[in-house]
Amino acid sequence: MITEIKRVSAVVLIMVFALMTSSTIITAFEVDNLRADGRNVRTLYDSYSAERGPILVGGRVIAESLPVDSEFKYLRTYLEPELYAHVTGYFTLNQGNTGIEGKLNNYLSGTANDQFLAQLNAILTGQSAKGASVELTIDAAVQQAAAAALGDNHGAVVALDPKTGAILAMVSNPSYDPNQLARHNTDLVIAAYNELLSDPSDPLINRAITGDLYHPGSVFKLVVAAAALDSGLLREDSTVANPAVLQLPLSNSEIRNAGRGTCGPDERVTLADALRISCNIPFAEIGAEIGVNVLRTYAERFGFGQPLEIPMDVTSSIYPANPDAAQLMLSAFGQSDVRVTPLQMAMVSAAIANNGVLMKPALVKTIRAQDLSIIEPFTPEIFSTPISDDTSTTLKRLMVANVDNGAASNGRINGVAVGGKTGTAQNGEGQPLTLWFTGFAPADDPQVAVAVVVENGSSFGNAVAAPIARQVMEAVLNN
């Protein structure tokens, strides 16, 4: 009997060791997977229990976590909700996060790997753990000017520092109140979200960088002109035929200039005049002349079809894949299947303004840990060099002429050389227009590149978009 009891005792020991092993596997080895599982609400509660880092603009808080007396110890609060909604995004209770809140969640919640030492330090010194703070590149005055200038118009404004790529303003209208989505009552949040989602004006979409994208219309002529000049195929005084009506190849469609007449009185028109007066027919001819490959190459150098994170994902602007001859001509004045984000057009102006060097757009200036050490400093990065210094000098001059005595006259600022280009894109028969302005100021030492888009206008880019852009540029120059 002794032998048997010995063996049973060994079995008992093995059983207890097995339990110790299985619990060790869970608590020591599988712990990361288990904590990261989306169904683990403890992780969610924890992400609320630690104070989430604030988001700042120019040293002022625009989003912060305020202590509340509930299971989730902090409530995310947005101080200028409508103004910054499309920048901050929203932070919900397990219903997904967007904008900076979504993209920099690890830093804000303090769970990013490079914050490990800071967290450890906080634990050892008895401070409560806190997420990193995120300072944005946005300039509050410019953002406010942009929002005020855009008013009730649906559309977007993007302002960049052409020398660094820092985003100075990013406004998308209509906006929403992210506080509604940050509440702790999930039912209310879902109701508010569904209401926003079903709103036909799509307030949740950041029109500056995402959404269905816009036809660029005449502002795309900047890309075409840049391609024509920089490739050496044409010069600014190169001429093309100047008819009042042009039959598209292999098609019944005819195209006309916006003024319904010829582009100036002459038999032939120069590239420079065609850009200044913004004529469609000459650009259709230029597009056909330089060909689809050159055009696409330059579009891609400016950022079309390229992935970009600012850190939010920017929807890539589109130059059509295989345009036929007619589509190529239409695309050369920004119609057909060319579709862009306002940020993309601001990037085109910024590259021209910055001597042909395109800086990577960025929204985050610094990420600072709880101990105030900088985790991620902002370092300007070159995105590409789409055109040469010479080409940029020529284009700058043409764009300044466009504002001074061309189609973009409403972009003028007294005493400052402003470069600009307007656009009035058609969206099909009976559909409202897309009104554009993109440009930079001052021409000799560019401080700002801007793109403005206004939806559903029944007017012209110069009448509606240019004055908005002017106010945004003034806000930068007055700083």
Binding site: I2, V16, A18, V31
Partner: protein, 466 residues
């Protein structure tokens, strides 16, 4: 200190004299026990206070009075041991007390979250049940002065055990909870008679096997290098297997079936020394379980929830892996050292006070706490096994091994289920989990082990069998 009361109650001079003698004789084991009990009390009372500090931020002392009363009752049990079993093992009572107290603290922690007070609070009911259980345990110690009396009543006890096991199947009083038909209800009281049945069955198995082991030891044919029993001796194991299968099928409870059958197999092995019995038994049980899994969805569900727990479909299914996975999340949250008493969120897991009390403790006390609890169980069972080694009669030895093994097997089935070592089944964790039947049964086991351990040192050395 208790002497005057006892003298007042018992005025027979002979008994008084004996009591005086007992109390004055230095009882080394009991003094050790007293010191260990003070440790257990300190652990239990500080656990309750820490729960309040962690969950509420202040010590409200809600249960303090009850708990001190419970400590006093344990001291009464200690005195009872001094009088009725002075040489009993000194570790069993302190371990049972400590585990019981940790359980109350874990249950109280959930009550605080639920805002349950008074009789609505599971912790208050648990304290009351503990008092009842300890009182019954003392009664067992007083009534059963010699465990061999149980040998005489083995068949009566065996039939009682069988009746208890089948009671929940009787319409009218039996009812199902969480899919398992294991409860009976009489008036406002509900009880799980199966918990008591395991003691009765252990007594019966010990008695029956000591009597019949000679014939069960005789081997028949040799198959694959192992000697198997004769066909005519297969009766008992087949009856036990059929009973286990009946529990599995009619009461829909894999854990209980495994517990009873495992108990029977181990006792059969210890009595006969034949590994072939164990192999046959395991094969029979595995075959039955596989068959049951194919025939009954509730059994199959347990297996799929175990093997593919993180599959979203199984996670969402009714009777799926939701509880298992949430329990794992809780344990992961606890990590190595736990969140601390009252500072985790064990209430997120269903049945955090009963079936999942181990996950609750794991979350707040961490792996370190779980190891300590497992070590307490190991120590408890080791004390029981010691009786098996040192016992003077085979019935007592077999009974001690059976009773200790059934405790550790139950811990294995529950904790193994929670930690995904084996499929999850609904059993209570001995001494820890909320539930009166379980407490009463396990305190009776403790009382029997105490009685048996006392016999080793004081009883006459009767040798039965080889």
């Amino acid at each position: 200190m208790t002497e005057p009361t006892l003298v007042a109650v018992n005025d027979r001079p002979a008994l008084t004299k004996e009591l005086r003698l007992r109390l004055r004789t230095p009882a080394k084991q009991r003094n050790r026990e007293l010191i260990l009990l003070l440790f257990a009390f300190a652990i239990n009372l500080s656990a309750l206070t820490l729960v309040e500090l962690g969950a509420l931020g202040e010590a409200t002392g809600e249960l303090f009075g009850y708990s001190v009363a419970l400590c006093a009752l344990v001291l009464v049990a200690h005195v009872c041991l001094r009088l009725t079993a002075p040489e009993a093992d000194p570790l069993i009572l302190p371990i049972a007390t400590a585990l019981n107290g940790l359980g109350i603290a874990a249950i109280y922690r959930i009550d605080i979250y639920n805002g349950a007070v008074g009789w609505d609070a599971a912790s208050v009911r648990q304290i009351a049940w503990t008092a009842i259980a300890i009182t019954i345990a003392m009664a067992v110690l007083v009534v059963i002065r010699n465990h061999r009396v149980l040998l005489r009543f083995r068949y009566v006890v065996g039939f009682t055990g069988l009746a208890l096991l089948l009671l929940p199947l009787i319409p009218g009083i039996g009812y199902a909870q969480f899919g398992a038909q294991l409860w009976i209800r009489v008036g406002p009281l509900s009880f799980q008679p199966g918990e008591l049945a395991k003691i009765a069955l252990a007594v019966f198995f010990a008695g029956y096997l000591v009597e019949h082991r000679d014939s069960l030891t005789i081997v028949g044919r040799k198959v694959l290098g192992m000697r198997f029993p004769r066909a005519r001796d297969l009766g008992p194991i087949l009856v036990a297997w059929a009973a286990a299968m009946a529990v599995l099928i009619f009461q829909r409870d894999l854990g209980t079936a495994l517990l009873y059958f495992g108990l029977f197999l181990v006792m059969l092995y210890v009595a006969t020394g034949r590994v072939s019995w164990v192999i046959m038994g395991l094969a029979l049980f595995a075959g039955g379980a596989v068959l049951a899994a194919q025939l009954f969805s509730h059994v199959a569900g347990r297996f799929t929830a175990w093997l593919d727990a993180f599959n979203q479909e199984i996670y969402d299914a009714i009777g799926g892996s939701y509880q298992l996975v949430q329990g794992l999340f809780g344990l992961a949250q606890g990590g190595l050292v736990g969140t601390g008493w009252g500072q985790g969120r064990p209430y997120l897991v269903p049945l955090a006070q009963s079936d999942y009390v181990v996950a609750s403790l794991g979350e707040e006390l961490g792996l370190a706490g779980l190891f300590a609890i497992l070590a307490l169980y190991l120590l408890f069972v080791a004390r029981g096994m010691r009786i098996g080694f040192e016992g003077t009669d085979d019935f007592g030895r077999l009974l001690a091994v059976g009773l200790s093994f059934v405790v550790v097997l139950q811990v294995f089935i529950v904790v193994g289920g929670v930690t995904r070592l084996i499929p999850l089944t609904g059993l209570t964790t001995p001494f820890l989990a909320a539930g009166g039947s379980s407490l009463v049964a396990n305190w009776i086991i403790a009382a029997l082990l105490l009685r048996l351990s006392d016999t080793i040192r004081t009883g006459p050395h009767v040798v039965v069998g080889p």
